[in-house]
């Protein structure tokens, strides 16, 4: 069942037209030693009903947010997705089209991407948004490459409170490019200004900070921005899109490049992908930003329309001198974010941000006051926070919670040895008081 669309008769006719008697002759140039011997060893094909049963059986071996309570955080969150997002983003005209190479046949995609760019620009206050990258981590790594290009400097300073997986991606991307990485101390939960000042120099290409950071804490972004700019470095911010319903946007505190994971904007958790890399910058860096950009113009009849623009930055024209090797964006994910932001609106985004903040503060209050956990960090936080279990056995705690269908974490010891008795707790608008109380009750019993 290979979705072949040719009858035996058509195959014979086509072969006759090209003067061959068998399909095999078309592959004559493939040397015998390169061929599959016999048949590939793949599982037997299944019909639709059998495969449906197979996939549902596999699914039944997973426990998911539809039947468990999720307080999991660390860069992926169980937010509510309005039905209108699924309905519109699953239209085949978006799902089964490709990159809008022919603008006349792709105005739908192009206009949606232009609206995405505009929505992200309005959300962040930044001048320019590209049409998306793979995910928050790779967007952040590309922001560093961009900073190195712009400043012609080869040192970068990363907050230790930046998502560890993002730092790992950055280090992978930079490994062969003769760029030095300095990582700041994380032990106070936020960047320490004295240390930042001592690590920045006139050789620093950029300072990269996450806000709210991996621990959920708010960073002193105004000061950090000032410090970076004082040495002529760029200030790169990893932000949390939902938080911008309440928090100042990156442009307000002087971000030069602002990137984010856009999963919270209408994209399912999906075990970590596909997600949405949001990437924005100041106007003056527009020719250095990687990825696709959609621009407004007019057609020959003078009608407003949209095209891919500034393509000379990209690999298909500039090859090894391109701003990046990125080719596709995450089109459908950007479309989901577009629909989500338009469905929620500015007021709605503020409301959802407030729900997250209130629930997080309520949960933290009760967990520290009633369940015996400590709070290692005192900085203000948004919707996620770190707890310390004085008994020290975090794995046991999280396992016993999971046994009661409550998922909390991740535990922090994997990345931060000094925090091996700590874990993250994240709240979204979906968590009810009852669910939070359940969590508190289970934890109090331990």
């Amino acid at each position: 069942m290979a979705y072949i669309n040719a009858s035996e008769e058509h195959i014979r006719e086509m072969l006759a037209a090209i003067g061959l008697s068998s399909i095999e002759e078309l592959f004559a140039e493939i040397p015998a030693e390169c061929r599959v011997s016999g048949q590939l060893a793949l599982p037997e094909p299944l019909g639709e009903l059998e495969l449906d049963q197979h996939l549902r059986a596999l699914g039944a071996q997973n426990r998911c947010a539809a039947n468990a309570i999720y307080f999991l955080g660390g860069g992926c969150y169980d937010h509510f997705i309005p039905a209108v997002v699924d309905a519109l983003a699953s239209r085949p005209e978006f799902v089964t089209a490709y990159t809008p190479y022919q603008p006349e046949a792709s105005q739908g995609t192009l206009q949606a991407m232009f609206e995405y760019q505009t929505l992200i620009s309005r959300l962040t206050g930044m001048d320019v948004s590209n049409a998306s990258m793979y995910d928050g981590a790779s967007a952040a790594a590309e922001a560093i490459l961009m900073s190195v290009e712009i400043t012609n400097r080869r040192h970068v300073v990363l907050a230790g409170t930046l998502h560890p997986e993002y730092r790992e991606v950055m280090s992978t991307y930079l490994r062969n490019l003769d760029v030095d990485i300095v990582i700041l101390d994380y032990r106070r939960g936020v960047c320490q200004l004295a240390e930042v000042a001592s690590k920045l120099s006139d050789k620093t290409a950029c300072l990269v900070v996450q806000h709210p950071n991996f621990f959920g804490c708010l960073e002193p972004v105004h000061e950090l921005s000032k410090y970076a700019h004082q040495v002529g470095a760029l200030f790169v911010v990893v932000f949390y899109p939902i938080s911008l319903g309440l928090l100042q946007p990156p442009a307000a505190y002087g971000a030069d490049i602002a990137v984010a994971e856009g999963q919270c904007l209408g994209i399912p958790m999906g075990f970590g992908g596909p997600f949405l890399g949001i990437m924005t910058c100041r106007e003056q860096f527009v020719r250095r930003i990687p990825g696709r950009l959609v621009g407004q113009t007019v057609d020959r009849r003078g009608q407003r329309c949209w095209v891919l623009t500034l393509q000379t930055r990209e690999q298909h024209i500039r090859r090894e001198r391109a701003t990046s090797n990125i080719c596709t964006n995450q089109g459908l994910m950007a479309l989901r974010a577009t629909i989500y932001l338009a469905a929620v609106g500015g007021v709605g985004l503020r409301q959802v941000a407030m729900l997250c903040v209130h629930k997080a503060h309520y949960a933290k209050g009760r967990l520290t006051e009633e369940a015996g956990f400590q709070s290692p960090f005192s900085a203000p936080f948004f919707h996620e926070f770190v707890l310390r279990d004085p008994s020290g056995n975090v794995d046991h705690l999280l396992r016993s919670l999971a046994a009661e269908n409550v998922f909390v974490g991740p535990p922090l010891g994997r990345w931060y040895p000094e925090l091996s008795d700590c874990f993250l707790v994240a709240l979204t608008e979906k968590r009810t008081q009852h669910e939070i109380d359940t969590l508190v009750k289970i934890c109090s019993k331990r």
């Binding site: 006349e104 739908g108 991407m113 991606v169 911008l244 608008e429």
Partner: protein
Amino acid sequence: MHERYGSKTIFELHKPGCQSVRWPACDVPCNEIAELIPEEYLRHEVPSLPEVAEPDLVRHLSILAARNMCVDSHFYPLGSCTMKYNPKRHERWAQLVEFTHLHPYQPEESIQGLLALLYSLQQMLSEIAGLDAVSLHPAAGAQGELTALLMAAAYFRSRGEARRHVLVPDVAHGTNPASAKMAGFEVVQIRSSPAGIADPEILAEHLGPSTAVLMITNPNTLGLFEKEIVRLCQMVHQAGGLVYLDGANMNAICGIAQPGKFGIDMMHFNTHKTFSTPHGSGGPGAGPVAVTAKLAPFLPVPVVVYEDGRYRLDYDRPLSIGRVRSFLGNVGVLIRAYCYLRTVGAAGLKQVAELAVLNANYLLHKVGKLLPVPYGQRCMHEFVASAAKVKAERSISAMDIAKRLLDYGFHAPTVYFPLVVREALMIEPTETENKETLDAFSAAIEAILREPAELLHEAPHHMPVSRPDEVRAAREPILVWRE
């Protein structure tokens, strides 16, 4: 495509107070925000996002949808992109909550079904590649290329070798040289033979102690099988280098040839090409990488492993290049690829290649009578026709033909690539198209070539917009909507 609405932007549909989503009142005791978050962090005004009533939002996106051509409704012979049919069943399965509502940090015991699926996909891709190990991480083909080249760099480093040069044929996709540069290598372009394939003698001129990797696409972007591939691999290995296969064109050979048997060391797959995961207006794709055993220790972490009757994520790989992205890859896309392979099986996969190549050759036969195809009487999954002659004689360009095809209800082929063919039209029909469609497409080209040049210069005539002014867009970029 004949809708005549002036299209508004979402910002022009803004009606204060009309947002689609209403959030519930807070059900926990609330303090004032200012007591929770210091003033200096707070914004004073709400973000200026439009408020749009749900019916307006749905109408708006539906109008936009109607302004796209897509595989479901149109023949989309975009060369090198493999625009094949995207099975509907995959969408249903990939959207099961037991897959979509999973968090990447939930315990392994709670995701055994998903890990079993991903493990099985690793095994199947390894078999199709004829290579030993697979990483599912890369988010797209280009990221797969980068991942493999980073692995090559780590491999040479582990051996104490400082090899600098990545060799890239002149017909390669632009991502190849760009990826090599990002991985810290220098790019050396190698020219193709007069027949349009890589030539061992030309390659020999460029091989040396600094050779790191040869990146080769097979079949190449001209739709030709690189028949010297075994020898090319041997030569690179003798020089101490590695060979990378850009798997963009696997649709031509999957199930028939195994790239591992060419002698290559690493490759990537484009699941959105070969395995029919939707192109999604430009993504998300996925670009899994397959490698030989000697490169396996360098794969990104984590890898899905199966031990003692359970699946787990293996992070303990000291030689790994690390992470190329957060979490574990574009899982939703990988699920669709898994569904595809479980549906077609080994025999089906071979049939895919057979029909893709038959369709391309049949269309080459028909179109070749109308426009010269400079390289080859035969092709694999695609071919490249040239409008250079009609350009010279009648000033009809490849772009004119492409634009006019839209009026005839066909998406245009890829144009002006590869660069070695002047006025290139790169045509890839895929196996899921039928003979009637191919006949209609070549008839359209025939009809177009009979039309007056002036008519074609102004094409398209029946699309929602005519040709956009790209010069204006690039000279004074307008990248956000303003009132």
